[in-house]
């Protein structure tokens, strides 16, 4: 059964140094607050998994939390590069980052395989590409019925999955909607899971077939309103596109990144305070 917890307690209990950790959310519902708390608590040596690393993994990689990244598209959506990710891969700063590179289709299939308790995913993929030569985790199997050669890749089975959702009820049943990405699969593939939510409600009042994570597949539920900012939460707030643009400048240099991280994450107590500092910083910049 999910326990309603403080995010700091949930991270302390569920995320350990060296864990395989997946924070999922495809552009939508990205668990920024949880990522920040992992940075604050100084986790090291994490094997991060995420289809689209986005700004949150750029921050975690730049903060030194990660030893490895499994991913399928590592850019700043609509803007350009993830500079901290690139600095880690190209220059080993702040620490060398091993990468396990996949395609979206592969990772999506690999989460499904993980959720289904299978050791590998099978897909019609990568044919003709350089992946099979360069990436040892991308192999093939022959179909025992037709003889067709298909790509085979290891399933994703995180130690802990973390997702953000719109609502949870008193018992900790979680409801999410809109663009769902691989959140459900990530939670079901993981040994432990944390869900941060916008709202705690008496009853979910969800229609049949809604995307619900029952309380008993979740370890901790944490009330963190706006916990997906600067990404968005469908029905609650819009994506902060301006921040995604600003991140390009903040993250481009190590020093400006470090100063930002210190002021906004390392020296704030929680996400509420982070949003306050971010808001005041935004105003100062507007005046300038």
């Amino acid at each position: 059964m999910a326990q309603w917890s403080l995010l700091s307690e949930a991270i302390a209990a569920c995320v350990h140094d060296g864990d395989i950790v997946a924070l999922e959310g495809f552009t939508h519902l990205i668990p920024f607050a949880a990522g920040h708390e992992i940075i604050r608590q100084g986790r090291r040596g994490l094997a991060l998994v995420r289809m689209t690393p986005d700004l949150i993994y750029d921050q975690m990689i730049g903060a030194g939390c990660a030893a490895k990244l499994t991913f399928s598209w590592g850019g700043n959506p609509g803007v350009g590069s993830l500079h901290r990710f690139r600095d880690a891969v190209e220059n080993g700063w702040p620490a060398p980052l091993a990468i396990e590179e996949r395609s979206h289709s592969d990772l999506a299939n690999a989460y499904v395989a993980g959720a289904a308790n299978l050791p590998f995913a099978v897909l019609r993929g990568y044919v003709g590409s350089s992946f099979e030569q360069m990436c040892p985790h991308i192999r093939s199997v022959t179909c025992p019925f037709t003889g067709e050669r298909l790509a085979a890749t290891p399933s994703i089975r995180p130690d802990v999955a973390i997702v953000h959702a719109q609502k949870a009820d008193r018992k900790g049943n979680v409801l999410l909607w809109g663009i769902l990405g691989v959140q459900k699969e990530a939670v079901l593939a993981a040994k432990r899971s944390i869900v941060t939510v916008e709202e705690r409600v008496e009853s979910l009042d969800a229609p049949a077939n809604a995307c619900i994570l029952p309380s008993w597949v979740v370890d901790a539920v944490c009330l963190v309103p706006q916990g997906a900012r600067p990404s968005y939460a469908h029905g609650y707030y819009e994506r902060d596109n301006a921040f995604y643009l600003r991140w390009d400048a903040i993250s481009r240099q190590r020093e400006s990144f470090r100063a930002w991280l210190k002021e906004h994450v390392l020296e704030t107590a929680d996400f509420v305070q982070y949003l306050r500092v971010l808001g005041s910083g935004g105003r100062q910049e507007a005046v300038r």
Binding site: F26, T27, H28, M51, F71, S72, W73, G74, G75, P77, G78, V79, S81, L82, F85, R86, V89, E90, E101, R102, S103, H104, S105, A108, N109, Y111, V112, L123, R124, G125, Y126, V127, G128, S129, S130, F131, M134, E148, R149, G178, I179, L180, G181, V182, K184, E185, C211, Y232, H234, E238, R239, N241, A242, Y244, L245
Partner: protein, 261 residues
Amino acid sequence: MKSDFTSEEIMTVSAARMLRNGAICFVGIGLPSTAANLARRLHAPDAVLIYESGPIGAKPAVLPLSIGDGILAETADSVVSTPEIFRYWLQGGRVDIGFLGAAQLDRFVNINTTVIGDYFRPKVRLPGAGGAPEISTSAKEVLVVVKQSRRSFVEKLDFITSAGFLSGGDARERTGIPGKGPVAVITDLCILRPDRQTRELTVTSVHPGITGERIRANTGWEVRFSDDCRMTEPPTGLELTTLRDLLARTAAAHGSAGVAA
């Protein structure tokens, strides 16, 4: 020659023209999304736009900035999970056209969005594959829209992220890839199509005011021109006003971020 449209506009308009009405189109973000949404406003109102984040039949009023913008979900016929999009809809063979961008491509329309330089010690680490490797093989046909330069049109790729015609000829068919592959590459200078035999990209249509010399100067291999190469029809007034209106409304909706699309 002075023209009343930009090279980017004729690229987007030419790409939009390629999308036939009613086509089921798997859309990449950026230029492909702009072209596909322009087509939907012009000659292809019944084109079905699928985005890899899960929206099927998205009809956004302004362009999305990211592949998973809320406006795609709000206007879609259905929103499915990311595994379902790739498994049932793309791999399932439901997609007519894959509409892709590219960082680099070669003469056989193989695409690199992974690294410049050595894979293990990259000079430039690019974002990576995204959905492209499977879009380029599972969609029945592929359109590529990309700005043409010696940086993007290269003699040899450092990494093949997504298969085009591989080493040319029937190399693609021999691998058993289900989709037919690229049918056209639309740039800011011209339109190129694969030669029927060799599968090498050949210039089949040159945008107004662009010289063959300029196309050669912006191609990393000795590019051929087809025998029946012609001039691209300039954008019509309606095409231009529709595109400009779409971009203006996008900029108004997203603020200064609107230009990123």
